[in-house]
Symmetry: C2
Subunit: 372 residues, 2 copies
Amino acid sequence: MRKIYLDHASTTPVDLRVMEEMLPYFTERFGNASSTHSFGRDARKVLDDSRKKAAKAINAETGEIVFTSGGTESDNLAIKGIAYKKGKGHIITSCIEHKAVLNPCRLLEEKGFKVTYLPVDKYGRVDPKELENSITKDTFLISIMHANNEIGTIQPIEEMCDIARDNGIVFHTDAVQTAGKLPLDMKKMNIDLLSISAHKLYGPKGVGLLYVREGIGLKPLIHGGEHENGLRSGTENVPGVVGFSRALELSVKKMDRESRRLIRLRDKLIKGALEIDRSWLNGHPEKRLPNNAHITFSSMEDIDLVSELDKYGIASSAASACLTYSTKTSHVLSAIGLSGKEAHRSLRFTLGKDNTKEDIEYVINKIHDLIG
Amino acid sequence: MRKIYLDHASTTPVDLRVMEEMLPYFTERFGNASSTHSFGRDARKVLDDSRKKAAKAINAETGEIVFTSGGTESDNLAIKGIAYKKGKGHIITSCIEHKAVLNPCRLLEEKGFKVTYLPVDKYGRVDPKELENSITKDTFLISIMHANNEIGTIQPIEEMCDIARDNGIVFHTDAVQTAGKLPLDMKKMNIDLLSISAHKLYGPKGVGLLYVREGIGLKPLIHGGEHENGLRSGTENVPGVVGFSRALELSVKKMDRESRRLIRLRDKLIKGALEIDRSWLNGHPEKRLPNNAHITFSSMEDIDLVSELDKYGIASSAASACLTYSTKTSHVLSAIGLSGKEAHRSLRFTLGKDNTKEDIEYVINKIHDLIG
């Protein structure tokens, strides 16, 4: 059966060029980067090279890259790392963050920290004015995602990180959905902490990074052999890091062109889907990820559209993968004003590098067959 | 040049059979295990199967396996996870644990927990009597490694976990060096928490597990999408877990035979090395890892023996890889009574599946050439 994968926000296949680059480090060049013999030195060198490559992709310094086991760990390290360093105080975030940000914030509330969860407008945007008004003398951290994983809305983070900087507050952003899709320049942007995950950009699962601006002090979450400059102990995942850095490099290289292509396909999909009666696009109409189409089909009967499309080989998503097995309505869709019923009649399509015009036409046809 | 890798305690190459099993999950069967479409269900199934395989290898229940990013994270999750659940109290560990145990304990001391670091005898063994005498009414955790990563000494953990059980205390062991080398049976042994790392047993880097006996409550370290039964959030590293479980299965399967083979080679190496004047074996003469030979050459001049052997293609270690770039004397060697000078004249050889009798003969010759 034809297989059309439209769930790239959830995960992506490893690019074959990335795979090729990783392979030798599993079986032949397998040394522990902390060993001093030739196997170890070889691993150390490729680890250093990978760090340089990753740093270059976001225009950061090599010493500002901390490799982790993925986006969730990066978010946890950023938020808890700075909070535990401060000991107490106030954090500002938004109500539509990923659980990897929200749940650390909830934990910190239990520990006596104050947290403000900013609301969003109907497009899912945080208002920078509202952010500014929420700052108190105790605010030490602002964490606002770069773009939302469900509805694809891009936040005005440049404005927000400038506000943070003007107020002497650390700014973190979860860029898991935007790295390789939107420009990230750590020299130009006033971002202090930034999370990226490899498996969202055609790299391997189990590896990510936290950009930590020089001078920002964090407490580590995982203690041990003092790897990653003392910020993240544990034998370095050399093949993973090699693959991640290569994937990030490739994504950034082809970003402009690929984004334009994805936008064309995305808009075609949106147009086709919106021909269905009483359907609408969620998220911002323009300030959205190039590959995200999130649509509510309000006239739809209570069918499981993900399952129905799956029968035709089409992989889509009802919410973020991290919420799939939850029976609760997505907190993101609630925040932009959807009812539980509307939320459950919504579908996320996230496009990727192998999707073609023909794929999109096929998908539009099937949607019309099922609910048109 | 001939390459002889004798640093398997530091890391191992991925077994080709393991690699083969992992490969499809990077590029083709790449789904997110939380997605409900066919890609996701496929990933969920293989994740479940891998968990069963890993559980079987240590005779545990499937629900007792928590996959992590490696041994260090597993140790951190075990120790901090139980400590944060308790809130306060007393922990007993040994002074020769890996930094992944010692550093979390030091952190907990800063947070007001009491920690007893038990001494060891000249062979590096903890005395179960002394353990028993250290228990107070506040003791909630005992963490003693199964075998030491530097000197290879195997601890009497069966005796010690029975003491813990008799006193209603949770028992954790770092089995990173023993999994696949010594029998681990969670139904027979009174172990409550047990850490394993994949890359020490011919699996991939960046993946490990924590065995958590049913009924043992832990607080997670990484919060987010509530993966791994809420104990470890973050998209599951499917290829990593597939490789790890297969590697563990293979190691356990060939364990008896391979151990006997390694012991023969190890003893040959020890015998050859000890022919050098004023040299001795560190660690226990019998109760030691089948692949570990740790020798002090006290008459040696101040040469960097690791580097010298490396010139002949022989990879050995001066301490654990995690301590390599530290200028301090190994805490393990200090604990068994070696002076700084003796410690720096010591070498660890850890053998593995590809080492042959000829390798060992070559190594013995080179040692004699260099310091004989």
